[in-house]
């Protein structure tokens, strides 16, 4: 209910920002859409579960357990409003999905595409004909062809039945005579049990991850075949992977001068101590010992994937990029829409951080200002009840950029009374 009110409040506020040329996704039918999705998937899952026919009871039980867990997680995502319910956007994505399926003569009955609010540049095949595209993909892709290749890759996973295969393989392995005997043998040992169990587990994990990497390459290959049938620009498969390769790099930052530029108004002063952090004892952070982290990568690196795709394409980059006004409109809104998604998924720290980076270069933007106000209000609330670290990332010397750590220090170090002042300064 609270979310609905917030949405109504925000949509109302956004109506006043027509001069910004930004139209947020129409979310007015969110409750209906959520209920419809929930009913649709409950039915779908019931039907899938009815048809789980495996002769081996132990295997069947494991498979059933995994299916039930993934299905309940998926239904929880629906209930948590993780998926964007915009008829226009969903229709657009469904159109792209249908284009690939039709051109490849694949029965579209069981296929569906959903758009998640997640800002991570990613997409997934759920194994039941459902392709989930994260909104974050729109931040990376630059044309519709690249997006179509993402969807083609996920359809590739579905056609090759990768999810189902993995679950079945896991169940088979768990109930296999060989593993049961090896486990019993280890349990009988007087000494060195844990090391032997660990070695066996590691081997199984490495094999599993090695299989996963092979499946990614297979999905790339089949995805490319499916994609090429759409007669879109083949080069998009390469440019997409090039973008994914650098998608984790932070492209902008916030300096102390930026904080002064943003927050120093109506007498409020940025102090050096807002950014102070005790110097850490530790300068070197090691990787995992006893585990080859390279062997635990679920995806091959993008450079390898690009090389393999290039081989398959045989340098036939003759078709031009597809022009799409629908895509251009979505892309144009994507940065701002992502800020809203982050806010609505309660990633207030990330939403604020990204908004501040945009606001410093566009101080007249009323939407950014409003989002700063909304995020700061939520962060202040969480700071008061000692849950700020649930909504704002942790200070991290190993993984965070200096800019992100500066931002985390700032939010932690300013007092509640300072929050009052700056929130007031951003009040619409």
């Amino acid at each position: 209910m609270r979310i609905v009110w917030l949405l109504l409040f925000l949509s109302k506020s956004l109506m006043g920002f027509s001069q910004l040329d930004f139209a947020s996704i129409d979310t007015s039918s969110i409750t209906i859409c959520k209920n419809d999705l929930s009913i649709e998937f409950k039915k779908k899952f019931e039907s899938i579960n009815k048809n789980l026919n495996y002769p081996n009871t132990a295997e069947r039980n494991i498979i059933k357990e995994i299916f039930e867990k993934t299905q309940s997680d998926f239904l929880e995502r629906i209930s948590n409003n993780d998926f964007l319910c915009s008829s226009d956007l969903n229709l657009y994505l469904q159109r792209l999905l249908n284009e690939i399926l039709t051109k490849n003569k694949i029965d579209a009955t069981d296929y569906k595409i959903l758009l998640s609010k997640d800002s991570e540049v990613n997409a997934a095949n759920m194994g039941n004909g459902v392709v989930v595209v994260n909104y974050g993909i729109f931040l990376a892709v630059e044309n519709e062809d690249e997006l179509v290749f993402v969807i083609s890759h996920e359809i590739g996973h579905q056609c090759l039945n990768h999810v189902k295969q993995s679950i079945e393989k896991y169940a088979k392995l768990s109930t296999s005579k060989e593993i049961i005997e090896k486990t019993k043998e280890i349990q009988k040992q007087k000494f060195g049990k844990a090391s032997k169990a660990n070695d066996l587990l590691k081997n199984l994990m490495y094999q599993n991850y090695s299989q996963r990497r092979k499946k990614e390459i297979a999905a790339d290959s089949l995805g490319l075949t499916l994609y090429l049938k759409t007669f879109r620009n083949p080069k998009a498969s390469i440019t997409l992977l090039e973008k994914l390769n650098v998608s984790d790099e932070e492209k902008d930052s916030l300096t102390v001068a930026d904080y002064k530029l943003i927050f120093e108004q109506k007498g409020f002063k940025i102090k050096e101590k807002f950014f102070q952090q005790e110097e850490s004892l530790f300068k070197q952070y090691d990787g995992e010992k006893q585990i080859e982290t390279d062997s635990l990568k679920s995806h091959p690196d993008c450079i390898t994937r690009i090389q393999l795709i290039k081989k398959q394409l045989n340098d036939t980059f003759k078709i031009n990029e597809t022009k799409s006004t629908d895509f251009d409109q979505i892309k144009k809104n994507s940065i701002t829409q992502n800020l809203l998604n982050l806010y609505f998924t309660k990633s207030y720290g990330q939403s604020l951080y990204e908004t501040l980076k945009l606001y410093k270069n566009d101080k007249e933007n009323a939407l950014y200002k409003h989002l700063i106000f909304l995020n700061l209000t939520e962060i202040q609330k969480s700071k008061s009840n000692y849950t700020i670290n649930r909504y704002v990332p942790s200070y991290d010397n190993k993984y965070n950029t200096p800019s992100l750590n500066r931002f985390v220090s700032f939010l932690n170090n300013i007092k509640i009374s300072d929050f009052d002042t700056i929130i007031n300064n951003f009040k619409p």
Partner: protein
Amino acid sequence: MKTKLLFLLLISTLGIQAQITDLQKISRGKLYSSDVIKDSNNNIKGYFFLFETDKISKETYELEYVVLDENLTKVTNGFITEMKYENWAMKAKSIKVEVSLFDNKILIRFNDDFGPNMYEVYKRFRILDLKTNKLSEPFIYNEDKIVLNPPFDRKLKNYDGNESQNMSYYNGVGLIVDSRYNRITKSPNRYLIKLDENFKEVWRTLYEDESNKKRTKVINYLNSDKDVIVMFNHIQKNWMKMLNDFSVLIFDSKNGKLITEFIFPNIKDFAYKVVDVKLTDKELILLGNFSVKSEFGYTNDTDNTGLFSYRLDKFSGKILDKKFLYWEDIGTKMDINAHGKIKEEGYIFVHNMIPLSDGRIIAVCEAFLQQPITTNNMYFLELSKDLKLNQVFEVDKFKNKFPGTSAHSNDIKKNGGFDFMDYHNLGDDEFLFFLNDNEKGSRNRKKSTLYGVVSFSDGKFKSQTLNLKTEVSTISAFPSKKGYITLVENFDQEGKPTEIRLEKINY
């Protein structure tokens, strides 16, 4: 206890994500012990954990150590082999670790852990170099020398050859050996020995000759810097009985020479305990508590007299100033009698005496009863430079009572019986004090989980209670890096991962 609990909760996040349940159960590590890495200003800079990962032969185990930084990010880990004593009659339940920090190195002391109040035996040491994250081979100090890679051996007949003198990093000084166990020195002499980073002896100072059985010095570290090492000396008779005889020994950090022995006044009537020692460029300030002399050689809980402050010249040991506060002179600001008993609350125990930059002192006190052990309200006293009471701040908290128990305050403190947890020095005379405000050992899930935070800022105390009760989880709080508290939230919902949050204290 607090850090152990934290690690029990963290273990689930550190385990290998296994695919096969039975194998995972076998491979899972078991937490042995943990310790916080603190700097000389009492700030938490990191955490050290020790897990048992496998039993590889009789009494021999593979252990994994994990180091986390102040933000709980994993810095390094590694695997070592260690032994612990096990026979049909007696078994060390784990291996305990204690860490001390000096420059960019952590000295880790391991010993077989037989449980609370048991002797710490089979001490051995390793050094973790934080520049390279390399852990040294084990070493002990035995028969007057460092023994690298001592043999793994738990045969009682070989005990003397496998035990170590105690070693620790002293603030501003480095690695010091307190060579006091004559079983392994084969000599009646007790020494403090400074070793350099290559274990070469820099100096040694004789502080006791044990042939004097009737009056033997037992010294314990108080504080140190690059100039002096300050040790509390408590006299023991026949290696058993502690006498009402105390002094403070001040050694020169550079050469180990005894600068002075500070003798407390009127020992025949009073007992003394040094609570904190502040070292400045030129001075040494001894802050503590004194009582009427007791029969058992420690301060008398039920006849507590007051507080003392001695200001000494650091280099000569000359007394520059001395002040006393008698509870009976406190006046109307606090309802405490001449024996240190606070009306309706109990006797006073002094946890810390923290000097401020202008000479004022904050004394952190908790009221308690010895029998049955009961811990009551907390009192924060702001004292003037002359040790006069400026203000008292009382914090009402849960009164923990343990029926059928009895103990001296020193033992209650040692075994974690008090509710005061720790303090953070935030600089500029600002402090945060943390206290537990719950029934200890309570299993009543419905009860609120309360933690008290007392701040001292701009000369004023302020108290807040973190009510960590939620309908869907249980939350535990632990002191953390400067200005923060670590909250560990375990959710009732099955499968929902434990949330570990570092939260900045609002004050």
